[in-house]
């Protein structure tokens, strides 16, 4: 295998490189933690890798409507940022569980989203947070919702030559990421669940809950029936139990060497319950949101 590695400093330069050759001949590389494995497995055989590391994709900006995260910010930077931890705890908690510290120094959110792994720990919280992506290409800039953008493993709505510029994550949003693994650190989650509570559009007493599972089967799954069980800031014990039961009923599960279907279903139920309870508790201590 041989390829050339390029470090463009302007987006125009990057596009020039990315548009060379037939599809697959030029690939963007961020932290490389997934791409290099893909090369090793023979999934890709690029002629050129275009590093995004010197492009202006490292913004981290907090505004009234949320936080804008440059696609190339290393996960470790986000993890250490107090505002991220306070504002979007569901995402911060999930980031904290990705691989090891060494890995998180290289891995990026942009890479995680475009890799679109079925077992990603970051897609559930990002989707539950109703994240939007800004994509840039020579043709211009467009904004898409993450939820419809990810289609399956290595499959997204990204067009050739397009680069994920940043992620827009509404903040602050109380929430949590609950997960279970055979080995707590540096393992793939048997089940991961993100729970996030959004204020109703235009404020008011009522809220919008988002519950998204990962690792259970295929890609992430939004659990809309479970979400529908919850309407209030602080759902009753019965409503929480109902949501957990619905979640276990509506999600799809597979049996593989990491867990049996039955165990995954059970875990999802436990983790959804805990996720809602902890979201309520953390929102109370954080003083609303």
């Amino acid at each position: 295998m041989s390829f050339t590695l390029h470090f463009p400093t302007r987006l125009e330069e990057a596009w020039d490189l990315l548009e060379q050759g037939p599809p697959g001949a030029s690939l963007p590389i961020a932290g490389g933690t997934d791409l290099l494995l893909g090369l090793d497995f023979g999934r890709f055989a690029p002629e050129r890798l275009v590093s995004l590391s010197r492009l202006p994709l490292q913004r981290l900006e907090f505004g009234r409507d949320g936080v804008r995260i440059g696609s190339m910010l290393p996960l470790r930077t986000l993890e250490l940022d107090e505002r991220v931890r306070k504002g979007v705890p569901a995402l911060a908690q999930a980031i904290n569980e990705v691989g090891s510290v060494q890995l998180r120094h290289r891995a990026t959110l942009g890479g995680n989203v475009v890799r679109a792994s079925a077992t990603s720990d970051l897609l559930p919280p990002l989707v539950a947070l109703e994240t939007e992506l800004t994509l840039v290409s020579r043709g211009g800039r467009r904004t898409v919702r993450l939820e419809g953008f990810v289609e399956g493993s290595w499959k997204t709505g990204l067009r050739v030559g397009e680069i994920v510029e940043e992620l827009h994550v509404p903040s602050p949003r109380p929430g949590t990421y609950q997960w279970q693994r055979v080995r707590p650190a540096n393992d793939i989650s048997q089940v991961g669940v993100a729970v996030v509570r959004h204020p109703k559009n235009g404020g008011g007493p009522s809220v919008r809950w988002r519950i998204v599972a990962g690792g259970t089967a295929g890609s992430f799954q939004r659990l809309t029936r479970a979400e529908a069980c919850l309407e209030r800031d602080e759902p009753s014990e019965r409503e929480v139990a109902e949501a957990a039961r619905e979640a276990a009923g509506e999600a799809k599960f597979l049996t593989d060497l990491r867990a049996a279907e039955e165990y995954r279903r059970h875990l999802l139920r436990v983790l959804v319950r805990r996720g809602i309870e902890r979201t309520v508790r953390s929102a109370a201590t954080a003083g609303g949101g």
């Binding site: 090793d40 090891s100 048997q190 049996a260 039955e262 165990y263 059970h266």
Partner: protein
């Protein structure tokens, strides 16, 4: 004290096996059997050979031309000839100008396989204990052991309680961070291999055997070893690399990928333990173990494991009557191989879980129950040997005191477990070392390589320093190949500091004795010379020069050397340690073999766990290891061994297992789904207590430490889990799902249907 290898390793300056290279070197790769048991119908190497850059492709048919003198052993083929015996068994070798070409060509060796039924699941094939009639005719039985003392049946009849349980353990691998790797070069009569090995001499013997060459023509040279854990004891890939070199006339480098490490290195396979114990009047009176041991594709005659393991299932406890029976079975898994205290963690898991559940059943404190029965020095072992100095009773007493203080602070839902392990050092196999004293310092000349424990590069120096009086920095180690080094049997069996260390100690003593006899050059008849009980000779360093001191007198070493010694650069002495032979009361053995112990080493461990009652997840929060040290030679090295062994044991206890499909193919041959502990799995509290004063046969009474501290870990954790939940999990590892089943959170039985194919999970290794 900083180890001499620490900085070079941190800076990437030491040469491990995979770093080896030579001018004109070829890179080699394997083609391996995809099925555990399959007939090789046909084989074509044309396409592989035609690949540009390929210099040789070897299959079984090519070997006799390369090894005219070797008597072919159809039972131990170097490459699959007719039938694969396990998944991953090599059937072709490729050498090429670069690694990518070698690997690509290996994939182009076309093999047509007829898949045959594979025996890989003990429980499925032998759901209940087989009758002797059934097993007699079974050619899969590699070994059978039957031994007893007293009347076990009668003990059962007399008992108030007869306690019966079946425990299961799974495949675990050594997983050294450095895969096997070697560089081979055949030039004329010289078959030379540099390799990452724990036993250069043992490996040479193995090669002599495999290749049919005279010993003196095989030369093994160790490299720095990035962890062995028993996995680098025998020749795995060296013969293959040598054959490729013989064929091509060029140096050949061969290294395993991680996938290959999991598929065909020699390791621990599953075992089933049927444990029965009887109690009368609160006293343990009888124990029977029936053991089915999967020894993979091993062959009869290489099955010491069974007899050794069985002994450990009796525990270090007094018993009126006992019976041991076991079968070592040949299966279509990789051949059994040594693995840090081979099978002892598994035996301890079964025996110590069983003892614990028995104590709880009869309402006795599990620690008190152990203290009531544990061996003390001077009494007899189950096999009739006299118990040598042994710290088990003291360790249990100290463990009990700590358990009380932990229990006083135990959070609700937590649990504390204790377990005992015992082990015997591999001191019977001998070793020799030479020390060479030069005017600037002392060199230990020997044939081992440092495998990471510090036993070679640090402990031998600590011993020499202590005997001679020279500071550590004036003592160095020289590593020679097997054609020049004094013989030693290897870095295994917790023996290095004990046996090689003793050889170094004796060599140093002989050296001092020799210098003492020369006197300090003060002339014949000097009063200090002739007086009996003259002060011992000691060495010291003065302005970078070695001084010989006797009482108040000191002379530079050079002054004591003969002119020949001065020309040679110094004076040498040889030390040999061949241990003492031991035996058991042979009358207990009815069939097969049992083995004697040399030093006995106790490990008493305490674990405190937190259990998530909703998910079955177990977390180890506090851990304490009371170790029977004999004498600690190198405190930092000692602590490192215990910490490492505890962590490795936690992997066996909680997360590590090889998972097979119903067809017997390994589903997780990689570090993603074969889960060794990470730094985040270290318990937040880890106490290590070295108990001295029960001497062993090493220097100053030292006992081996490499293996003993891994032994009780799985049982200690399982017992803590039982303490927390009241539920006994009869199989390790204690994964969350398995615990959830035992706790009744989900149904008791795991599904057995074939799971969908998983995508490959590991990269194919280094480039």
């Amino acid at each position: 004290m900083t180890r001499p290898d620490a900085l070079p390793k941190a800076e990437g300056r030491v040469e491990f096996g995979a770093d080896l290279s030579a001018p004109r070197m070829l890179w080699a790769a394997y083609a391996t059997a995809p099925h555990p048991h399959a007939r090789l119908r046909s084989l074509s190497v044309d396409e592989a050979l035609a690949t540009p850059g390929v210099r040789a492709v070897l299959t079984a048919a090519d070997l006799s031309a390369l090894l005219p003198k070797r008597k072919p052993d159809p039972q131990r083929p170097l490459l699959v000839a007719k039938e694969s015996r396990f998944q991953g068994e090599p059937f072709a070798l490729v050498a090429a100008e670069d690694l990518a070409t070698a690997r690509a060509a290996a994939r182009r060796v076309r093999a047509d396989w007829e898949v045959l039924p594979a025996f890989t699941d003990l429980t499925k094939e032998l759901p209940s204990w087989p009758t002797p009639e059934v097993m007699k005719g079974d050619d899969r039985v590699n070994a059978h052991v039957l031994a007893s003392r007293g009347d076990f049946e009668k003990a059962c009849r007399d008992a108030d309680v007869v306690h019966d349980e079946t425990y299961r353990t799974n495949m675990v691998a050594q997983v050294p961070m450095e895969p096997h790797a070697c560089l081979a070069r055949v030039r004329g009569e010289d078959w030379h291999v540099r390799t990452t090995t724990q036993t250069p001499f043992g490996l040479r013997e193995d090669l002599v055997d495999k290749l049919g060459l005279p010993t003196e023509r095989v030369r093994v040279e160790g490299t720095w070893v990035g962890g062995g854990f028993g996995g680098k004891n025998e020749a795995l890939l060296e013969a293959h690399a040598l054959l490729l070199s013989k064929r091509t006339g060029r140096p050949v480098r061969l290294a395993l990928t991680f996938r290959e490490e999991f598929l065909f290195s020699r390791t621990t396979q599953p075992a089933v333990f049927q444990m029965t114990s009887c109690v009368r009047g609160g006293r343990l009176i009888g124990r029977r173990t029936r053991l089915l041991l999967d020894t993979g594709a091993s062959l009869p005659g290489r099955d010491f494991a069974l007899g050794y393991a069985l002994g450990f299932t009796l525990g270090p406890y007094r018993l009126d009557a006992w019976e041991l029976e076991g079968y070592a079975l040949r299966t279509h898994r990789p051949p059994f191989g040594p693995h840090r205290a081979p099978l002892a963690p598994q035996c301890s898991f079964a025996a110590e879980s069983h003892l614990d559940s028995l104590a709880r059943r009869i309402g006795v404190d599990p620690i008190a129950f152990r203290r009531q029965h544990v061996w003390e020095a001077g009494e007899k072992t189950a096999f009739g040997q006299e118990v040598p100095p042994f710290a088990a009773a003291e360790a249990l007493a100290r463990g009990q005191a700590l358990e009380r203080s932990w229990r006083a602070e135990l959070p609700p839902g937590g649990g504390i477990g204790i377990a005992v392990g015992f082990w015997s050092t591999g001191t019977g196999a001998g070793g020799e070392a030479i020390v060479r004293l030069c005017p600037t310092g002392l060199t230990i000349v020997q044939g081992e390589r440092e495998i990471g424990t510090g036993s070679v590069c640090e402990a031998t120096r600590a011993i020499a320093s202590r005997v001679t009086g020279l500071p550590m920095e004036a003592v160095q180690v020289e590593y020679l190949d097997t054609s020049r080094a004094p013989f030693d049997s290897g870095v295994w069996g917790s023996r290095t500091t004990i046996a090689l260390g003793r050889a170094v100690q004796k060599a140093c003593e002989a050296l001092l004795h020799d210098l003492g006899r020369r006197g300090l050059g003060l002339g014949r008849g000097h009063p200090r010379q002739s007086r009996r009980g003259a002060p011992e000779v000691r060495l010291e360093l003065f302005r970078g020069r070695v001084m010989v001191r006797q009482g108040e007198l000191a002379r530079p070493l050079v002054a004591l050397l003969t002119s020949q010694e001065r020309k040679r650069g110094g004076v040498e002495a040889l030390g040999k340690e061949y241990g003492r032979s031991h035996d058991i009361d042979r009358s207990v053995v009815k069939d097969g073999e049992l083995y004697p112990y040399s030093d006995l080493i106790a490990s008493v461990h305490l674990a405190q766990v937190a259990v998530d009652r909703d998910t079955g997840a177990v977390r180890v929060e506090r851990y304490a290891a009371f170790q029977d040290a004999g004498h600690v030679v190198d405190p930092e090295g000692y602590r490192g061994q215990v910490e490492g062994a505890v962590l490795m044991g936690l992997g066996t206890a909680l997360t590590e297992e090889g998972l097979l499909t119903p067809q017997g193919r390994l589903q997780n041959p990689g570090l993603l789904d074969y889960r060794i502990p990470t730094i985040r799995d270290v318990p937040s509290e880890l106490q290590i207590v070295a108990i001295e004063g029960h001497p062993g046969s090493g220097p100053w009474g030292a006992k081996g430490v490499g293996e003993p501290p891994i032994i009780p870990v799985p049982a200690a954790v399982a017992n803590a889990l039982a303490d927390a939940t009241g539920a006994r999990v009869l199989e390790i590892p204690l994964t969350p799902e398995r615990v959830a089943r035992a706790l009744g959170i989900i149904s008791a039985r795991a599904p057995t249907q074939e799971v969908p194919g998983m995508p490959p999970v590991t990269p194919t290794g280094g480039k």
